[in-house]
Amino acid sequence: MDYFRVLIVDDEKPFVDTLVNRFNKRNIDTAGVLSGEEALELMKEKLFDVVILDIKMPGGMDGIETLREIKRVQPLSEVILLTGHGSVETSIEGMKLGAFDYILKPVKLEDLLVKMAEAFEKKDAHDQKIRSAKIKELIRFPGRVLDQEKEEK
């Protein structure tokens, strides 16, 4: 899968803007927001495969709270935590809450891309499993899956 959607959440506007530009230049569908609230707002409308989330954001929701909400809104998207200082304890807490990994700022784009690819692979594998499970279900009980799909809509 070459195509994936990325959301960057960080309070540092130049950082977010530049990163969005650079990802887009590399044909990665990227969006950037400056706070946890904005991120959740956007995620209610649009699906993302990978979210890059700064742990420490002043004012409003902090990274961990945002992470918790993201996992509620889009449980299948993978989250990579960004940390500006050595609060590895917070990163570990984040990973317990389901974050994929954490990475220390400043980070080179290449390193970030590697992590993102890993996260996407994991998500993709997960999606594949869900899909194949659904296919099996469909083969065995065609009616039930269709009913479910209807309900979801």
């Binding site: 200082h85 050595g86 609060s87 304890e89 700022k105 400043p106």
Partner: protein
């Protein structure tokens, strides 16, 4: 300054202790001595009073007996019988046989004529009519004279009684032997300084005293001081000594029996006791002084040692506090620096990306741009490294416990540094205790510790030298020593080596964070690092780690 403080304290304790200990001792000693000597004096005074009373009784009795026998003889004979030479001689014999102490005996008629006489002197025929005593005996009936010289020029006294026979009367007169009388009085003398004698109201001696005069001489005692029956006074004698005098008036009220005594003579027991007491007190005082000085010295020395230890401990605490505060600050600073660094890095990255676009590709300065961007990125990387090591990247990680072979880690670390050491002609020798158990620890962190310490040792030597690495097990502790023979660390720098950003290396080649992180890691494992360094001889870092046995899986 500090020394004088302790000396001052020591002196104060000694003085206070001595005052408190010695004052009661001295007060008790003096009071006891005073009380004891008072009691002793009272007893001596009581004794002398009693003796003078008893002796006065005895002298009174002596006189009464003599008077009685004289009276009996006068009553039982008529004047005619008495003047007969044979009869008076027999009477004199009987009197001396039954009472004694009579020297002579005479019969005098009412006109004062000495009619008959027995005795050693020729007194017959003398007339006593004009003598004052004669008138007195004629009126009162009995008479005892004072001691006087009389016709015979020897001190003596007489006893006379009057016999009333019809219309006329006569007198029987006897002389008492002064030696015998004096002997009776003197028998009350005791000791080397005791005296006993009789004096008249006007102070004239009536018997021979042992000291201070002779019979019929003038005594220096004022008899007016003696009132009542018996009185004790104290008075200085001619030699200037204080003497006790006890005087008892005889029944005739004319004579005072005096017993004198130098109290010092009787108080030898007291003086012996006093000397023993003084010796005991002196030894006691000496013992107290020595013990006080010794114990105070010990106490102050202990105090001093405790103070020193406390100071060291405080210094250590301050150091730990300082490091903790710096650690907290570092976390804050790291955040503030890392965010700008992140932006810089992304911006340069973006510039780099854009350089490949057509407009720029033809720019003649393209190479310059690229180089500048690379250098910016390189320096961002350098700043990032400083900040990360400042955070003690390893130290912030939860130490993750695994089975650790200390000797193995030491060997591994040395392998990594072997090349670096060889280039500088430095030999690394190991002396590892085979007895060191596998412990629970964080291998990566320990490797960082040894890496920092051994590479520091190599850097300290510079070129040509020896680094020794020793491991030892002692009780529940493992000690790993890293010993170099470099130039040593100056004393004033020894305390700073664990501070962050303290480095002696050239700018750019050391961050000054290695030992700080090392210190934190070891502290986090419950261990300690001790630094010993001597100028020109070298430096030893000793890492002490507690032995934590891994849990059985």
């Amino acid at each position: 300054m500090k020394t004088s403080l302790y000396a001052n304290l020591q002196n104060k304790i000694i003085i206070i202790t001595l005052v408190v200990a010695l004052a009661p001792l001295i007060i008790l000693g003096t009071t006891m001595y005073y009380q004891f000597s008072q009691t002793c004096r009272d007893k001596i005074e009581e004794q002398i009073r009693y003796r003078s009373m008893a002796q006065a009784e005895a002298v009174d009795l002596f006189l009464k007996e003599r008077t009685a026998i004289l009276g009996a003889m006068a009553a039982s004979h008529s004047l005619n019988e008495m003047i007969d030479e044979k009869n008076i001689s027999r009477v004199f014999e009987v009197m001396n046989l039954w009472a004694g102490a009579f020297v002579d005996l005479g019969v005098i008629d009412s006109a004062g004529h000495h009619l008959a006489y027995v005795g050693p002197y020729d007194l017959k025929g003398l007339n006593y009519y004009q003598q004052p005593w004669f008138a007195e005996v004629m009126s009162k009936g009995t008479y005892i004279s004072d001691v006087y010289m009389g016709y015979r020029q020897l001190p003596h006294f007489i006893i006379a009684v009057r016999r009333q026979q019809g219309q006329s009367s006569w007198v029987l007169r006897a002389t008492v032997d002064p030696d015998i009388f004096g002997g009776i009085v003197r028998s009350a003398q005791i000791g080397k300084t005791g005296d006993a004698y009789l004096i008249r109201r006007d102070g004239v001696f009536q018997t021979s005293p042992r000291f201070d005069g002779r019979i019929l001489g003038q005594s220096n005692l004022d008899t007016r001081l003696f009132g009542g029956r018996t009185t004790v006074i104290e008075q200085e004698n001619a030699a200037g000594r204080k003497i006790l005098y006890s005087g008892s008036w005889l029944r005739n009220d004319k004579w005072l029996l005096v017993i004198s005594q130098d109290p010092a003579d009787q108080m030898s027991g007291l003086f012996a006791a006093r000397n023993v007491e003084i010796v005991i007190i002196v030894f006691g005082i000496l013992a107290i002084i020595l013990a006080t000085i010794f114990t105070t010295y010990l106490t102050v020395r202990r105090l001093r040692q405790a103070d020193l230890r406390m100071n060291e401990l405080n210094a250590e605490l301050i150091q730990t506090d300082k490091l903790a505060a710096i650690g907290k600050m570092a976390a804050g600073v790291a955040h503030e620096i890392n965010n700008p660094l992140a932006v810089i890095l992304q911006k340069t990255g973006w510039m780099e990306d854009l350089l490949f676009e057509e407009d720029f590709r033809d720019s003649k300065n393209l190479k310059e741009y690229k180089e500048s961007i690379e250098i910016i990125e390189e320096y961002v990387e350098r700043a990032r490294k400083v900040v990360h090591s400042m955070l003690g990247y390893a130290r912030k990680m939860e130490p993750h416990l695994e089975d650790v072979d200390i000797n193995g880690i030491v060997n591994q670390t040395i392998d990594m540094l072997e090349n670096y050491a060889r280039i500088n002609n430095i030999d690394i020798q190991t002396d590892l205790d085979k007895d060191i158990p596998i412990i629970a620890g964080d291998e990566a962190q320990l490797q960082q510790v040894f890496m920092n310490l051994i590479s520091n040792a190599i850097d300290a030597i510079g070129k040509n030298g020896l680094v020794q690495v020793k491991s030892r097990r002692k009780d529940t502790q493992i000690t790993i020593s890293i010993i170099d023979d470099g130039p040593g660390i100056p004393r004033d720098q020894q305390k700073k080596v664990f501070d962050p950003f303290f480095t002696t290396k050239r700018a750019g080649s050391g961050t000054g964070l290695g030992l700080w992180v090392t210190y934190d890691i070891v502290k986090g494992m419950g261990g300690t690092i001790i630094l010993k360094s001597e100028m020109e001889k070298g430096t030893t870092f000793m890492v002490n780690l507690p032995i934590i046995i891994p849990e059985k899986k």
